[in-house]
């Protein structure tokens, strides 16, 4: 990697030193080094995980971008690639894993299912998009996205990281970063943040002309 990428524009460096010295800002060097050593979490959900493996394998070779270090532990990972359908049964674990990741952390929603439910959106056990619970940085289209589009997604994430500014980053703020409350598997999945709304809706008097919203057939 040349140092030119991190030089500030119009830096006047003597020609002899151009390959040894770089004049840059703290933001730039900080972002440059972070964006080129993104460690994804080794975390596959569904079909897209197979394409993620292919991306890491020899033909597409993720390591060209400094991302080959797949970490099974969330504590060591920078990017969570949500690769596949997010189900209600799995979302508590996904949120827990996200909470366990150390800052700075990024999320890529890989494929149609993780982005918005995809072909399975209407399913009763499917969360229509992982962004209902955790913040997503990059969405990748496709079902499943090809390895090329995953690479494109990761490069997009790199570009996003390069634009970050230390004083405004989430993880250097004085106040604590609030953890996302873990969704609970009740009679159906519920988000603790929505408790009041749920309680309000389920205690509403039933209007006669409206169809009943409760599940039709209990055990």
């Amino acid at each position: 990697m040349t140092v030119n990428g991190i030089n500030i524009p119009n830096a006047s460096i003597p020609p002899d030193l151009q390959h040894q010295v770089a004049v840059t800002t703290l933001d730039k060097i900080y972002n440059w080094s972070r964006s080129n050593s993104l460690w994804p979490m080794m975390f596959g959900l569904a079909c897209c995980a197979i394409e993620m493996i292919c991306t890491a394998a020899s033909r597409y070779d993720l390591s060209r971008f400094g991302m080959e270090v797949m970490r099974p532990s969330p504590r060591q990972a920078d990017v969570m690639i949500v690769s596949g359908t997010v189900t209600k049964k799995m979302i508590p674990q996904i949120v827990r894993l996200y909470n366990q990741m150390a800052e700075p952390k990024y999320v890529i929603a890989m494929g149609a299912c993780a982005s918005g439910g995809g072909p399975f959106k209407e399913g009763y056990n499917v969360v229509p998009g992982v962004d209902k619970f955790i913040p997503v940085d990059v969405y990748i289209a496709g079902c499943p996205p090809t390895p090329q589009s995953l690479l494109h997604g990761l490069i997009t994430l790199q570009k996003k990281i390069e634009k970050e500014h230390i004083p405004t980053t989430r993880w250097y703020k004085k106040e604590d970063v609030v953890e996302i409350p873990i969704p609970v598997l009740g009679p159906d999945l519920f988000d603790p943040r929505k408790s009041e709304l749920i309680s309000l809706e389920t205690h509403k008097p039933i209007l006669v002309e409206e169809p009943v919203t409760e599940s039709g057939d209990a055990a």
């Binding site: 394998a57 020899s58 229509p128 598997l185 519920f190 408790s195 389920t202």
Partner: protein, 581 residues
Amino acid sequence: MSEQTANHPLYYEMANKFPDAIILEVRSGFFGAVVKSQSLLDVAKTLRDAYSFDYLSAVTGVDDFPEDRMEVIYHFFKSIGGPQFELKVFTTRNEPTVPSLTGLYPGAELQEREIWDLFGIKFTNHPDLRRILMWDDFEGHPLRKDWKEPFYEEDVKPFKNRWPEGKARHSENTNPFQDNVQYPREFNPANWTGEADHLMYKSLIMSGEQSSNIIKTDQLVVNLGPQHPSTHGVFRMVVVLEGETIVNLRPVVGYMHRNHEKIGERNTFLQNMPYTDRLDYLSSMSNNFGYSITIEKMLGITPPERAEYIRVMMAELTRIASHVMSIGFLMNDLGAYFTPALYALEERELILDIFEAVAGSRMMCNYFRFGGVVRDVPEDVMKKVKHLVENRLPRKIDELDRYLTKNEIVRTRCEGVGVITSDEAIAFSATGPILRATGVPYDIRRADPYSIYESLDFDVCIRNHGDVYDRYLLRMDEIRQSLRILRQVLNRIPKGPVISGKPQYLAKVPAGESYGRVEGPRGELGFYIVSDGKPNPKRYHVRAPSFINLTGLAQMCKGAKVADAVTILGSVDIVLGEVDR
């Protein structure tokens, strides 16, 4: 329908034997026996012991709403091959109970749990009747016809215009919670004290098994998964350990339950084809194959000869791609991190190139149609396949073989680990490499031939020890046999059309039912379809080999070390898309 009529004398014989219990049901598209639920066990025992129908392939339920009736359907086969024997049990919708067959056929265990979960049919004397795909506290039984999901729009597709007056209508906006959820009346999340998994831990403690160690240690429950690098997806094993020895194990599935069957019953017949790709996403062509032959049985059409050859070609390429990947990732589980898998993935990529060339997508091919395939294989792709089959793959498979098979670590980690005997494998309804590695030559391509497999020359591979090493070797053998099939296919493939008749968007499937099965890379992939003559299936069930192979997992793991559980799971080679559907 010749293969379905082959067993008819037996149905009459059984009906004579149990005049009070069995009623033959004959109508167009269906021929089978209906058993009274109180005599189900006797009939099944006679079938198993006197007629050697020792292999219970699939159990599933059907909801006959609005009639007050639910059905449980059993598909029996002989492990020496031959057509099926189908039994039905009727029960009411209000209090559905059916005796459990787990005592006679342990392979029914997980399937009966699935029926309880999705239909609410209780199985008396089932050892561990808990929900399996959904969680314990979930409200309702989703596959009942009158149960509606939160994003319910209409009963069947194609839905009416989703863009009324040119504006997009999102399901989120029609739901009061702006999400895919619904709650019973009077439900208050603040008072919720339910605890996930309490029933499972209870059942593990209840089973109270002890190892025969002289030194007694405390039992420890360890959860492997659902996020674990070696579980091949979102699979969870709850293991009871004594020291490092596994005393008991429960597979916990459902983390990727994407409601394949509920969505499948809303879809039209053809709309299900791309969904089948996403079942076993490592072998989408095989899934297409199984689904299309099931529907073709009902439609009564046969594909033209060229299409049959193309289908077999694609299915065998899929098998190779899936098996090399399985071998590569078994090595991953043994600790050879990623290097063998890289070799395996390299070959898989070349096969995926062919799929991409013919179908347009690497993994989700959606290539088959009822009565053929969607488009012809171009000549230059044929050349690529030829090169792959005749030059590259045999060389590369030998290379893998040379690197791995005699490796000291592979042998010590795999030999004698995860043993299952042939009797146990049949009883647990295991299929595919698991069953054949125990010495049972049961391969549907030979046992109940479909497509053109009868005219092809290949051997059913078997190995005799039933351990992890044999499953590995068997997959190697099968790759070689697949190459043998492919060579014949490439030499013989005729010219001609690739689809019979005009391609149809709306298949007019007559009323009736059909159970079609193919030998997928992981075993018997079955589709059970009930049609009532409408454009959508009334019941759409997938008999997923990976799911049913898991029934025997606890048996394979008992007594092994905890590190071996990872290896054993790798050798069972599950794909979660198919396990959870």
